[in-house]
Every structure is written in structure tokens, then in C-alpha cells.
């Protein structure tokens, strides 16, 4: 009879130890937790305020165009950023000009040195700003989805900032601006350039 209790006790001890020695979790839950543990907003904040706005690598648009005309390959290599394979690179540029039209979020600018350029204050989406900044590496993130979340957070900040910066801006005003442009290696004309702004300032 005593033996029976010893066996039951031993079984219970083994069962309790066994039960507590391992546990199951859904792989998707773990992955989700890993992804969500990264603060994309804080990261994008630092990219924008400490990186893009203070960057000394931003090139004057007119200098970029002259460099490309002189030696396209070298200019793309020095000032452009492309993460993989393709004909286009992103560049972070700055310039000045006079606003000659504002329509549906597009500012038409008579650039002081580069003819007419357009600033798109409405469709600030995609990877233009992230990639033009050159501040974020693909290898910093485990998946493309996470990498793209950086752009989404960064774009959201810029979409909030630009209306504040342009609150009092009107047609006829002179402005200085910086932002991202995408240029194709097949491109030979540099007219009608579209800029995704990072900053617009009244002069």
C-alpha cells in the first residue's frame, strides 16, 4: 500500500516537473512580438530631425545636374543611392526659387538656376526620402516589410511637418527647399523634376 503512494507521488513530481520544464508558443506570436518591439516612430524621428534636416551631404540641385552632365557614372556613385538593381537612383537635393503655382498639393517653382521644378507636398509616400537620405541600410532589418515600415513612419512625420512649414506660403513667395528626387540613368533632360520635400522654408 505504501509503495503505491510512493509511485503516485513520484508520478506527480515527474508530471509537475515535466509540465513546467517546457511550454509551447505560437511562432507567429513570437515573430509578431519581435517585430513590434522595434520603435519605428522613434527611429524615423531621429532619421528626420537628426539626420535628414542636419545632413551636410545634401547637394545643390544645380551642382548635381552639372556633375551628372560631366560624368553620369561618377555623379550617381557619389551622390545617389540605390539599394539593389535598377536604372534609377535617389538623391537628396536643395535649391531655391519662386512659387508660380500651387495646385492639388503640387508647388510649381521657378527655380533660380534649374528652370521649372515641382514639389509634391501631397503624395509623400514610398521610399524616396529614406533611400535618398542614405541613412538606412537594408541589412539593418531582417525583412523588407520592416525596412518599408521605416519609410512609412518617416513619410508620416514629413507629411505632418510640411503643412506646418508651408502654412503661410503663397504664390509669388520665394522659398528654399530640400528633398528627394529620383533620376534615371537613361534620363538626359533635367526639366520638370519632381521633388518629394523634406523641408520648405520661406525666404
Amino acid at each position: 500500500m505504501k509503495k503505491k503512494y510512493v509511485y503516485i507521488l513520484a508520478f506527480l513530481i515527474i508530471a509537475i516537473l515535466g509540465y513546467n520544464s517546457f511550454y509551447f508558443k505560437k511562432l507567429s506570436d513570437i515573430k509578431k512580438a519581435q517585430k513590434e518591439s522595434f520603435d519605428f516612430k522613434a527611429f524615423a524621428d531621429s532619421i528626420y530631425y537628426k539626420g535628414i534636416l542636419k545632413s551636410k551631404k545634401t547637394i545643390a540641385l544645380t551642382d548635381l545636374i552639372s556633375s551628372i552632365k560631366a560624368n553620369q557614372e561618377a555623379a550617381f556613385k557619389k551622390y545617389g543611392n540605390r539599394l539593389g538593381i535598377g536604372n534609377s537612383d535617389y538623391f537628396m537635393i536643395k535649391s531655391t526659387g519662386k512659387i508660380i503655382d500651387i495646385k492639388d498639393g503640387i508647388y510649381t517653382i521657378a527655380d533660380e538656376k534649374n528652370g521649372v521644378v515641382f514639389i509634391d507636398t501631397k503624395y509623400i509616400f514610398g521610399n524616396d526620402l529614406r533611400d535618398a537620405s542614405g541613412l538606412v541600410k537594408l541589412t539593418d532589418f531582417k525583412t523588407n516589410a520592416q525596412f518599408n515600415k521605416v519609410s512609412e513612419s518617416l513619410n508620416k512625420i514629413v507629411r505632418n511637418e510640411i503643412p506646418k512649414q508651408t502654412k503661410n506660403v503663397k504664390i509669388g513667395d520665394s522659398i528654399s527647399f530640400s528633398g528627394a528626387i529620383k533620376l534615371n540613368k537613361k534620363q538626359t533632360l533635367f526639366t520638370d523634376l519632381l521633388i518629394i520635400p523634406s523641408q520648405i522654408k520661406l525666404q
Binding site: L83, G84, Y123, F125, T143, N148, S151
Partner: protein, 306 residues
């Protein structure tokens, strides 16, 4: 006894010589494992990869996974035991394909993913992928402009287990969801399949006859959506958007029956994957884990260039 020993030594010599002569004469073999051969886009990807591998002097054979991770796993088992030297893989599933890739890795066989990403950055030797997100951001912007920021729309997704499906959907929604007057009335998978997409849209339109647009995760489904709309007599009222740059959709854009698509470059991905395998055989080991390939927006304004 001495004769027996001599026989064993001779047998060993023959085996060693036989093996070394095989190594010298046999070309390295490259397996191209493709998610499906039931879609012309993937046929082009697989054939282009095989063609590039052969051009580089290797034997190449295509394996069809029929969109089924279990068949893909069997393919891997077979080609590992058959002595393939590299695998150019178009995975069936972003999670489900990882174990097969790891088996190949354990066997010392490099795997180069083409077009579809797996959710691991330490399994494949490199992943050459379309920049689906950026491509669909561009389509999203086009979509908002075409619909003048308002209307009801349907999204037909690709395979739900494929990362490309969500990268495309994510890029599209990163734009469209910022415009509150654009209402998505249905979002359903069409499995990247033309017939399935046609059936899905027909069913959705029974409950939502007044849609303004359809965004499809690939061009095969855009063609299926077009068929469904044509059968309902709505092909000129409902705007269709695809993704891939398939020849029939490019033609439909020219005819103004489909609004836009994102042009992918399967030949570039296939060529890069084969090139990487060649470089691996020659000793290179430092491959970028992910290589995005640019996607170009095609619409009425630039259709003349395609």
C-alpha cells in the same frame, strides 16, 4: 588471402579514380525550383534562370512545386540526393519554404531565392526580389489620382502565404488608406490565378454592383478581373490596376482597358541568381542577403516606351 587483398586495393583505386574523373568531367548542376509552371510569368522566370545557367556552362533542370510547399520539399529532397550543386528557388511560401532551404544549406548547397522573399535572413545565400512595395506605392498614387480620391474598390490579393502579396498590398494601402473617401468594399484572395480572380470578382459584384475600381496583386488576376467586368458589361466603368507587366496587360493599357501595372523584371532576377551561383562556385561568399530589383509603373502616359 593475398589475392583478396590485391582485389580490394584495386577496387579502391578504381573507385577513387572513378570519382575524381567524374568531378573533372561533370558540369556542376543547378536546379531551378519554381513555385508554379501554371502561370506564364513564372515559366518565363524559370526558363530564363535555366537559360542563364546553361549559358554559364552548367547543367540546369526545372522543378515545378505546383504552389505546394510539400511538393517543394520533395523536390528539395530529390535534388539534394541527386547531387545538385546550387538551387535557384522561387519559393512557394514565405515561412513554409524555410525548412527546405535550411536542408539544402546543411547539405552545403547554396540557395538563391528569386522574386519571392522568405521570412529568414540566415537561410538563403541571397534573395533577389522585386521591389514590390515601392512598385505598389506608385500604383497606389496612380489609383488615388485616377479615382479623384473617392469611390468604392475591391482588392484581389495573391497567395496569402506569399510575402509578395503583402508587400504589394502594403505598398498600395500605405497610400490609399490616407484618403478616407476611398472605401474598400471587399478584399479577397485570388491566389494569383486568373480564373480564381474572375470568380472572386463575379461573386463580390453580386453584393457590390457599384464598384469603381479593382486593384489586383498580379496581372493574371487583373486579366481575370477584366473578364469578369467584361461579362458584366462594366469593363469601361470600373478601373483595373494590376502588377507584373505581363504582355497581355501592357496591351490592355495601350487599349485603355486597364489603367496601370508595375513592370517587374523576371529576366533580371533570373540572370542575377544564375550569376550569383556562378560566383559562388568560383569562391565568392559575401552575398547581400536581399537585392531589390526596381519596378516601373506603366500607365497611359508612358505606355509608348513598352
Amino acid at each position: 588471402m593475398k589475392i583478396k587483398h590485391l582485389f580490394l586495393v584495386l577496387t579502391a583505386i578504381v573507385l577513387v579514380l572513378g570519382c575524381s574523373s567524374k568531378e573533372k568531367t561533370e558540369k556542376p548542376k543547378i536546379a531551378i525550383v519554381v513555385s508554379t509552371l501554371n502561370n506564364p510569368w513564372f515559366v518565363m522566370l524559370a526558363e530564363s534562370a535555366a537559360e542563364n545557367a546553361r549559358k554559364l556552362g552548367y547543367e540546369a533542370k526545372i522543378f515545378d512545386s505546383q504552389n505546394n510547399p510539400a511538393i517543394e520539399s520533395d523536390n528539395f529532397e530529390n535534388l539534394i540526393s541527386s547531387g545538385y550543386d546550387a538551387i535557384l528557388l522561387n519559393p512557394t511560401d514565405s515561412d513554409g519554404s524555410i525548412s527546405s532551404i535550411l536542408k539544402a544549406k546543411t547539405a552545403g548547397i547554396p540557395v538563391f531565392c528569386m522574386d519571392r522573399e522568405v521570412n529568414a535572413d540566415d537561410a538563403a545565400t541571397s534573395q533577389i526580389l522585386s521591389d514590390n512595395y515601392s512598385g505598389c506605392v506608385a500604383i497606389g498614387i496612380e489609383f488615388v489620382k485616377e479615382l479623384k480620391e473617392k469611390g468604392k474598390y475591391v482588392e484581389i490579393l495573391g497567395l496569402v502565404g506569399d510575402n509578395n502579396t503583402w508587400a504589394r498590398s502594403g505598398g498600395f494601402h500605405s497610400v490609399v488608406d490616407n484618403f478616407p473617401n476611398l472605401k474598400m468594399v471587399a478584399q479577397q484572395s485570388g491566389n494569383f490565378d486568373r480564373t480564381k480572380a474572375m470568380e472572386v470578382l463575379e461573386t463580390i459584384m453580386q453584393a457590390n454592383p457599384d464598384i469603381d475600381a479593382v486593384f489586383c496583386g498580379n496581372d493574371a488576376m487583373a486579366m481575370g478581373a477584366f473578364q469578369a467586368l467584361q461579362a458584366a458589361g462594366k469593363e469601361y466603368q470600373v478601373k483595373i490596376f494590376g502588377f507584373d507587366g505581363a504582355a497581355d496587360v501592357v496591351e490592355k493599357i495601350r487599349e485603355k482597358k486597364i489603367v496601370a501595372t508595375g513592370m517587374q523584371f523576371p529576366k533580371v532576377m533570373a540572370q542575377t541568381a544564375a550569376q550569383y551561383a556562378d560566383e559562388y562556385f568560383k569562391g565568392r561568399r559575401d552575398f547581400p542577403q536581399r537585392v531589390p530589383v526596381e519596378v516601373e509603373l506603366i500607365n497611359a502616359s508612358n505606355i509608348k516606351d513598352y
